[in-house]
């Protein structure tokens, strides 16, 4: 995504695990925004799924929001550490995103519907050249 002020790679060693995560001093998410109807997308679209228009701009999404729904995955895909919390977050100011709830014990008593959360980043994998892939998740705002 063309966002020159927030490079998605800082130095040779860290890169965002997906292009819609921007790193730097102020990590945040960006989305393609339909110029006609305002629908947001994390992936490249040929035309807007909501209205059919073909022109998109890039917009910044808020780092805070509320947990709309979650699950605690115990039987995970091969190679994925479990249990972990998967959640959909309603972002302040619009947009909905799915990621893990991090920096908590993954039990039902530690996650609640409507819980306030904020974006946090962490290194999730390292390749053979020492490059680090940076992921994002959401942690309780109160923490």
């Amino acid at each position: 995504m063309g966002d020159e002020t927030a490079p998605d790679e800082i130095g040779p060693k860290q890169m965002a695990m997906v292009e819609y995560l921007k790193l730097g001093d102020d990590p945040h998410l960006v989305a393609y925004v339909c110029d006609a109807c305002g629908a947001t997308y994390f992936d490249r679209r040929n035309a807007c799924a909501a209205c059919g228009a073909r022109d998109f701009s890039t917009g910044r999404l808020a780092n805070t929001g509320a947990v709309r729904t979650f699950t605690i995955v115990h039987r995970a895909a091969r190679g994925v550490p479990a249990p972990y919390v998967s959640a959909v977050v309603d972002l302040d100011g619009g947009g909905r995103v799915k990621s893990n709830i991090i920096n908590i014990e993954p039990t039902p008593s530690n996650v609640s519907l409507g819980m306030r959360v904020r974006l946090a980043t962490y290194v999730t994998a390292t390749d053979d050249d020492g490059n680090e892939a940076v992921a994002f998740g959401y942690e309780p705002e109160a923490a």
Partner: protein, 403 residues
């Protein structure tokens, strides 16, 4: 014929769902197909069209391979795949051929052989990490997103669908979701065609292994093998058949297929609700049947969390009242509107391609009054629903003949 005339189910059959190590896919499809032809009192030579639904062998020419066992009569064959709505889509394919006036009679069969894959959707491998990171795909990802940016696996996706309902409505939680599984396992004890026929207490459901909270193992459907088939006939043709065939015929009062319209957030959490509501509302309008008229419903309980939402999506309960409805026993076989008296996907099983035809078999068998021990007393009208992620939803309303 006019395309306003109804299409009828003349014959229907299904194999018991389970595991058939000693049979192949075509054995299962042939068993259901021959059973449906026999049940309808017709032969392959009378079929004008064949539609075969199978997901895992979608490019395997299943319809033509089946003809080699049933009769190569040269009729058009459609091999269809549409996620978990594959079977319903095969039925609709034959229905459209009849409605279009291209066929008077046709056979729709759904079949799947999944073997011991374990629980549905549980075992997808994460993308293996590259040795040197390189951006790939439309998200420009450098490592697999599964488990890092939430889950896309079915038990979790449907758990999130249920928890979203709990977020929006009062009186819904782990216990209400678990009651769905308790009910369907209990119902399956009466169905000789079910893969599992074991009842569990609510406590056993809630304390079984957690797969994706709140879904425990007993709240997730198994994989398995099986097939189901229907013979459809035009109104005009049916009226030329003997009286007994007309009496046992089941009227297809509505047949609707929808996909998921764009809704806020559907890019991160598939919306299984809007397309179900759209399909149900269209089916009620087409048939003139009101939800309160339904004597039974077979709906797509791939996970217990999904079934609870669909009470609301199919207008079986008050808006927002699915938790209260199960608490008061509404969907039990002796309740207000019996739901999944077959045992549902949770216990009858879910051989994917067969599922959307098997639920028509179930509803048809009840409105004919031929369901044996599990018969819903004096059932006259029922609804069958399936949904496949991606998404695709099929809703059919079936009524007793009256001829």
């Amino acid at each position: 014929m006019s395309n306003q005339d109804p299409v009828w189910i003349l014959g229907t059959s299904m194999t018991k769902f389970g595991r058939y190590a000693d049979k192949d896919l075509i054995d299962l499809a042939a068993e259901a197909s021959l059973g449906a032809l026999d049940d309808g009192g017709v032969t392959m030579a009378e079929m004008d069209v064949l539609a075969a639904g199978c997901l895992y062998e979608a490019n395997g020419g299943v319809g033509q391979r089946l003809q080699k066992q049933l009769g190569q009569t040269g009729i058009p064959v459609y091999n269809v795949a549409n996620a978990c709505a594959t079977g319903a889509t095969a039925v609709r394919t034959v229905m459209m051929a009849i409605k279009a006036g291209e066929a008077q009679m046709g056979l729709a069969v759904g079949v799947e052989q999944m073997g011991k894959m374990g629980m549905l959707g549980a075992d997808r491998a994460a993308r293996s990490d590259k040795q040197v990171f390189e951006r790939k795909g439309r998200f420009g990802s450098v490592v697999g997103v599964e488990g890092r940016l939430g889950t896309n696996m079915m038990p979790g996706v449907f758990a999130q669908a249920g928890m979203e309902y709990a977020y929006e409505n009062d009186g819904v939680g782990f216990e209400q979701f678990a009651k769905v599984a308790q009910k369907n396992h209990e119902h399956s004890t009466l169905n000789p065609l079910a893969q599992y026929r074991k009842a569990f207490t609510l406590d056993e459901v809630m304390s079984s292994e957690v797969i994706a909270y709140p879904n425990t193992l007993l709240m997730c459907c198994p994989t398995g093998d099986g097939s189901a088939a229907v013979v459809l006939v035009s109104d005009e043709k049916l009226k030329t058949l003997p009286r007994e065939q007309q009496r046992r015929a089941v009227k297809v009062s509505a047949s609707v297929l929808t996909s998921d319209p764009w809704t806020e957030g559907c890019q991160v959490q598939p919306d299984v609700n809007t397309l179900t509501r759209n399909a149900a509302d269209a089916a009620y309008e087409d048939s003139g049947v009101d939800p309160a008229d339904l004597d039974l419903v077979e709906l797509h309980d791939c996970f217990a969390t999904a079934e609870l939402r669909h009470y609301d999506n199919l207008r079986l309960c008050e808006p927002g009242g699915a938790g209260e409805w199960i608490d008061k026993g509404g969907p039990w076989r002796d309740g207000e509107i019996p739901v999944n008296v077959s045992g549902g996907l949770l216990s009858k099983g879910h051989p994917i391609g067969a599922t959307g035809v098997a639920n028509l078999f179930e509803v048809a068998t009840h409105v004919r009054g031929e369901a044996g021990d599990r018969q819903v007393p004096d059932a006259k009208v029922g609804l069958a629903h399936v949904i496949g992620l991606g998404s695709s939803c099929g809703v059919h309303i079936l009524e007793r003949s009256g001829l």
